[in-house]
């Protein structure tokens, strides 16, 4: 278990704040019609991606969940989030060159692909794990998903393969209880995704997805197991989606508005609020530092918006050359 220094803790905190600020930027730009695509906010989910992705090595593989379109996973890995904003504005400086709409990719940091078809990351991650096991460099893969995704066959077929072949894959499930507008309690009899893992003899743990350190520690354990040949694990992070499925959509459960009380209760356990309180109590954070970090993140977001706005669109003449590799 790595001892987290003050610097480490501040990195996590700063990553959370930057993730939220960029999430808010994307939300505003979507409302203003400046994003040329859709956006699925990470609001409420920030601690899961940030906490888990903080554990990995630069040469590990991450298959990201769609909440925040890559922000929670990439910011903590040191990837500049302006490339996320630029991609959504369709600019050539985006992380996919402005041709993908939204897909988060960063070859150097092992962020290969992201799923448009929810749940398709499970089997691809098994492939990353297979490659990692074959090359013997001690790499691992983390596959992030939601609780809706695990209802697809890909989850079951991938976790079965990973368990049978002891592939170094960690499944991090961000369980917010909703798939689009449909609560999962009405679509599955299994309350805890962790129970599914047990059926495949895969160790599973349920953690508080609003507690970034709990996510970090659980991931650390699972990653170490995977790196040492122990095969896959699953971490189910109980979390909450503060906004609708995607921007501009009604925030409903089935066809009726979601319970305001339920949202308010989860807001009390906001992941940033919880971590901030802890760091203040532990004297890692001061009021001045909180303000500085917030201001810097705001300035960064303003600069990213301008950068993206000023960037050129890709040359459409490139498109026919992007279909096949030479």
């Amino acid at each position: 278990m790595k001892k987290l220094s003050k610097q480490d803790l501040l990195h996590l905190y700063r990553s959370l704040i930057r993730t939220r600020k960029f999430d808010q930027l994307n939300i505003r730009l979507a409302a203003e019609g400046k994003l040329l695509t859709f956006y699925h906010s990470a609001h409420g989910h920030e601690a899961v991606g940030t906490g888990a992705a903080a554990v990995v090595r630069d040469d590990d593989y991450l298959f990201i969940h769609h909440r925040g379109h890559g922000l929670p996973y990439s910011i903590v890995r040191g990837i500049d989030p302006k490339s996320c904003v630029a991609e959504h504005m369709g600019k050539s400086t985006g992380w996919g060159g402005g041709i993908t709409g939204f897909h988060a990719v960063d070859k150097e940091m092992g962020i290969l692909s992201s799923a448009g078809t929810i749940g398709s990351g499970f089997v691809l991650s098994a492939g990353y794990g297979l490659a990692a096991k074959k090359n013997g460099r001690g790499q691992i893969a983390i596959c992030f998903s939601g609780d809706g995704g695990v209802q697809r066959g890909q989850f079951h077929e991938a976790i079965n393969l990973c368990a049978a072949w002891k592939l170094p894959v960690v499944f991090v499930v961000e369980n917010n209880g909703m798939a689009w507008f449909t609560p999962n309690r009405d679509t599955t009899a299994v309350e805890n995704v962790a129970d599914l893992a047990k059926a495949y003899k895969v160790p599973a743990e349920i953690v508080d997805g609003m507690d970034i350190l709990a996510v970090y520690r659980a991931t650390e354990k699972a990653v170490e197991l995977a790196r040492n040949g122990g095969g896959p694990s699953l971490i189910e992070c109980k979390t909450f989606r503060y906004r609708s499925h995607s921007e501009g959509r009604p925030d409903v459960s089935h066809f009726e508005p979601r319970s305001k009380e339920e949202i308010a209760a989860w807001m009390e356990r906001d992941p940033i609020k919880l971590f901030e309180e802890k760091l203040v109590k532990d004297k890692v954070l001061t009021a001045t530092l909180i303000e500085t970090i917030a201001r810097e993140a705001d300035e960064e977001a303003v600069a990213a918006e301008k950068f993206s706005f000023d960037s050129p669109f890709p040359d459409p003449a490139r498109l026919p050359h992007m279909v096949y590799a030479p």
């Binding site: 041709i99 990719v105 692909s113 089997v123 297979l130 090359n135 079965n160 393969l161 279909v323």
Partner: protein, 321 residues
Amino acid sequence: MKELMYWNAISEAIAEEMARDDKVFVIGENVQESPFLATKGLVQKFGSDRVMDAPLSELAIAGATVGAAMAGYRPVCDLTFADFIYCAADEVLMKAAQQYFIHNGEVGVPCVFMGVAGGGFGNGPEHSRIPAAMVMHNPGLKLVLPSNPYDAKGLMKAAIRDNNPVCFFFHKKCMPMKQEIPDEEYIIPLGKAEIKRAGTDVTVVATSYMVNLALEAAKQLEGKVSSEIIDPRTLVPLDIDTIIESVKKTNRVVIIDEDTECCGVAAEIAQQIIERAFDYLDAPVSRLCAANSPIAGAAMEKYVIPQLPQVIKAIETAAGL
């Protein structure tokens, strides 16, 4: 020179590529024993770490293939029956085909999806298809349909070395074919059609096993019709130039393909001919394909998939007889 059967030519190609490049491995259901023989004997040479018997799960097999390819390997994924590609549509059509694009050209998916295709054994609607048009319709995939052992070997080697996902559908009816194969290495580049028989009266573009039926038909029509038989060998990329050149010479063309007719391979080739050689045509472009029907099984199969008499008739009609 040595004589090799169709399946053995494929397994020899894979073996040569596995020996040449340790990033190449085989994954699929029963690839060690290999019910269609195309990966037979590989496990004895390369071990079970490189010839991997996977769970009965096309999603996991195809998905792991794509993931491993993106992470630096060159997997050969054996889907068993080509029909089973439908089970892994997300992995093959959405992921393998589009990842190069999604990664802005920075990450490729070099892999092969192989499967035994076509009719001839009466196996019915779920084991007798050649999903060629579907693959052709999805940009990002390449498509190889070898019609004999020599081509199968050279094309499989090219498919494994290609930096894109390549579907390699080999035909059940070609399995008993034997051919002289050179001892020295050879590769047949993807996108090069071959004129299997030169002729002057009519161009016959045939794919996969239909090439062999067309050759037999041409033989039977000798003295009556001089047929030029073209095997595109790969449909993506398609060597349309060779076809156009022939059509300009014969002024007549029929396309014979075993996939179902509607929105099919023949329709696409016909349209390209019309766009590029309309003024050279003395008759409408014609086609002979599987009927727009599920591939019937047992005794009824021959009423859905083109057989020799229909091929002969189609060539005669195209020749204006």
